[in-house]
């Protein structure tokens, strides 16, 4: 079967993952691919764990993919990165926006937030890169654009999707008044990716 690229975006409700998924999927459409995007609405929005899956290629059947098959895992929170790590293929790339958000279970002391997540991620994933995306986004004026900033980083790995396809997707999906800052965030992500070498395991 022709190659399908599998990408999972994971994090916490409210981090803009649904929008990031839409932009990614639209960019793949603009690049001429068949695309499927799977998201979950409803309860997940109330601060719960969130996952969006995007798949593109010549022809895509299933909207979702299983463990060991993600080419890219883009995580917006440490614990969520660890939770969804089994999705990643052996040679898959993990891109982390390094934030720590206590779930209610650890905030209330019912469970302990794991201490050594970054070490575990490094150990289990040879192609792992971590970014202070929210910090960089805040410097642009709004920490919320960390989602698009991470897409900028991801875009440097997806050579099949040209820069114009991304720009068009942003034009199509971001409301006019937020467009400039989101484009800036995207460009910042591209820049950060160029600076950062993947951390070897």
């Amino acid at each position: 079967m022709p190659k399908v690229t599998n990408i999972a975006l994971v994090g916490v409700g409210g981090q803009g993952i649904i929008l990031a998924g839409k932009v990614l999927a639209q960019a793949a459409v603009n690049a001429g691919f068949d695309v499927k995007l799977a998201e979950i609405h409803g309860m997940a929005q109330r601060g719960g764990s969130v996952i969006t899956q995007v798949r593109f290629g010549e022809q895509v059947f299933a909207p979702t993919f299983g463990n060991g098959t993600a080419d890219y895992l883009v995580a917006f929170e440490r614990l969520e990165a660890l939770r969804h790590l089994p999705l990643l293929a052996e040679q898959g790339v993990l891109l982390l926006s390094d934030t720590l958000l206590q779930p209610i279970t650890t905030a209330t002391g019912m469970a302990a937030y794991p201490r050594n997540i970054i070490e575990q991620l490094k150990e289990k994933c040879p192609r792992f890169a971590s970014f202070s995306a929210e910090y960089a986004a805040e410097k642009l004026g709004n920490p919320k654009v960390a989602n698009i900033l991470m897409l900028g980083i991801l875009s440097t790995y997806l050579s099949d999707i040209p820069e114009t396809a991304w720009q068009e997707a942003l034009d199509q999906l971001i409301p006019e008044k937020y467009l400039a800052i989101n484009k800036e965030a995207f460009a910042t992500g591209v820049g950060l990716a160029a600076q950062q070498n993947e951390v070897a395991g």
Partner: protein, 579 residues
């Protein structure tokens, strides 16, 4: 041009293109966006109903008047609408009528994972199952054609993965179709026994005609490959099969009820071993077996939860998966929580302090059943809280005057009114706390008859909850803001002491609707004794930090509930001088 649409958006587009002129629904995940996107087409009169039964009845009326209509609901919504639905099968339609049932295998946001394909069989109506967004759009038009050609309502069933997955769709134009005007025809539309007897004969004949028609409809397709494995499948399961077993031969059913026996037999004869891959119940499998055809299904395919490419592959090639047996250490869960500043937290916590029984209902507030709040004792279906509270008092008189039903405003107007009527009629000593946050929050803030705004955004009459419950005969009615805990507690205590059913309207707008952020609070470490009383309210802005607790300034919206709970007075407003 091809555009990326979710299954729900595609269904809306399909309705537009197929000349639907009336669309109704009550919200419910994963169906909600169908009506939310249909309202962008001014040609379609789209409206929310207070519940699914009324939504369907409005659509039936529109059909009677010759209009093409669509009604959408989540799977459990059809339980509520089942009464009109089953007799609608007998009357048949005027203008075409399609009922969209969005099922939720895997229960991403539902209280059960019932398989609504059974409703098609129960009602003896055709069932279409799209496998992607393109089909979701096209099947609306096809459903309406079938509806008018065979004089039947048609069920279009999606699942969460169809409704909420996006894929490419070729758009078309709106096509005109003739509207047959209302014609008086009691033998068809007045279902008294004398008429219904004949309509039942018609329904049975209709099913046979349909089975024959399916044969040439092109809705079901053969894909012959390696003939050692033949798979009958439909809906999203088809996609998993294509991916997991690219070599298999497939009979893909676009119409999953009724089956065309001839077609099934031909496929069965062409392949060595016949399988059915379907989510949830052995719906197709049992019917195929009834045809006397040998088939493997639920022996290898799970009956619970969603399927996936992985699960299907595993079912056929278990040996491939033997290696992956090590289970990772469980990580702390991240369940959804009531937002910081959510008024429901104040209501549920206030009730918990009273040490009473609390029967619950469905809505955001159901999250108050989870620890650390753990303030709700039951959740069955929309509207159940009131009848269940009454039932508790019947089981043991010690619960009389000691039991509260909590129910959201949208849920109260959905199916709570009758429960309260029963409580009045039978003199139940219960208190009903209506959690009036002025919206249907759980499903994404839809308006309802209590908000004064319609689906299209027009102003309308808002039902007055106090007057409504008074009219039902409730003699104790009070309105209180739950964020004033002292007043809330006193009001509920008064209600509990009242000799008869009492209603407390706990009113404070949903925090996501008003988005008003006041100055946040902080915990003064010098005064915090680490008693963790504030942790017990389960606010996502408060966390245990060493021996004290801390408030996250970015998430705190300054509702002030925790301040009323801290026994040490250690919680203070940022910017105010510490005492």
């Amino acid at each position: 041009m091809k555009v990326l649409l979710s299954g729900n958006e595609a269904i809306s587009r399909g309705a537009y293109e197929a000349n639907v002129s009336v669309a109704t629904a009550y919200p419910g995940t994963p169906s909600t966006e169908i009506l939310e996107t249909i309202r962008q087409y001014p040609e379609i009169k789209a409206q929310w109903a207070p519940n699914e039964k009324v939504a369907l009845e409005v659509a039936i009326g529109a059909s009677l008047g010759g209009a093409r209509s669509l009604v959408a609901m989540k799977h459990v919504g059809l339980n509520v609408a089942a009464d009109p639905f089953l007799t609608l099968s007998y009357t048949g339609v005027g203008g075409g009528l399609v009922l969209v049932s969005a099922d939720d295998p895997g229960m991403h946001s539902s209280q059960n994972e019932q398989d609504n394909r059974h409703y098609a069989r129960l009602a003896k109506v055709p069932l279409l199952e799209p496998a992607n967004s393109q089909e979701a759009k096209d099947f609306v038009g096809i459903a309406l054609q079938i509806s008018e050609q065979f004089d039947t309502p048609v069920m279009l069933r999606t699942t969460t993965r169809i409704s909420h997955s996006k894929s490419l769709v070729e758009l078309g134009e709106r096509r005109w179709s003739a509207q047959v005007p209302f014609e008086k025809d009691p033998a068809k539309w007045v279902m008294v026994p004398a008429h219904a007897k004949f309509r039942h004969l018609f329904v049975e004949a209709r099913l046979e005609d349909l089975a024959e028609w399916i044969w040439r409809s092109g809705l079901n397709t053969y894909e012959f490959n390696d003939r050692s494995i033949g798979i009958i499948t439909s809906g999203v399961a088809y996609q998993y099969v294509k991916e997991a077993l690219p070599e298999a031969s497939i009979l893909k059913l676009g119409i999953a009820y009724p089956l065309c026996p001839k077609q099934i037999r031909i496929f069965a004869n062409e392949v060595e071993k016949l399988y059915v891959v379907e989510e949830l119940d052995p719906f197709l499998e049992e019917q195929i077996r009834m045809l006397g055809i040998e088939v493997i299904g639920k022996e290898i395919i799970p009956k619970t939860g969603e399927l996936s490419t992985e699960i299907v592959r595993k079912a056929f090639y278990p040996e491939d998966y033997e290696l992956f047996t090590d289970r990772p250490k469980p990580l702390p869960k991240r369940p959804p929580v009531l937002c910081a500043g959510c008024p429901h937290r104040a209501s549920i916590y206030g009730l918990k302090r009273l040490g009473i029984r609390v029967t619950g209902d469905i809505g955001c507030y159901t999250l108050g059943a989870l620890p650390p709040l753990s303030g709700i004792d039951s959740c069955v279906c929309m509207g159940a809280s009131i009848g269940m509270a009454e039932g508790l008092t019947l089981a043991d008189p010690k619960y009389a005057g000691n039991t509260v039903a909590v129910i959201g405003d949208s849920t109260f107007l959905h199916t709570g009114i009758q429960g309260l009527l029963d409580a009045v009629y039978n003199k139940a000593r219960i208190t009903v706390v209506i959690l009036d946050n002025r919206t249907t929050a759980m499903t994404g803030h839809q308006d309802h008859p209590g908000t004064g705004v319609t689906l299209s955004g027009e102003r309308t009459k808002a039902v007055n909850l106090s007057k409504l419950v008074e009219a039902l005969g409730v003699e104790f009615v009070a309105v209180v803001d739950p964020l004033n805990q002292e007043k809330f507690k006193a009001t509920v205590e008064e209600a509990l002491a009242f000799d008869g059913p009492a209603v407390v309207i706990s009113r404070h707008p949903c925090i996501l609707k008003v988005r008003k952020k006041q100055d946040p609070y902080y915990i003064d470490p010098a005064q915090c004794t680490g008693c963790h009383a504030c942790i017990q309210i389960g606010c996502p802005a408060i966390s245990v930090a060493g021996c004290h607790n801390a408030i996250n300034q970015a998430s705190c919206i300054g509702c002030g509930l925790c301040v009323q709970i801290c026994p040490e007075g250690a919680i203070k407003k940022v910017g105010e001088a510490s005492a």
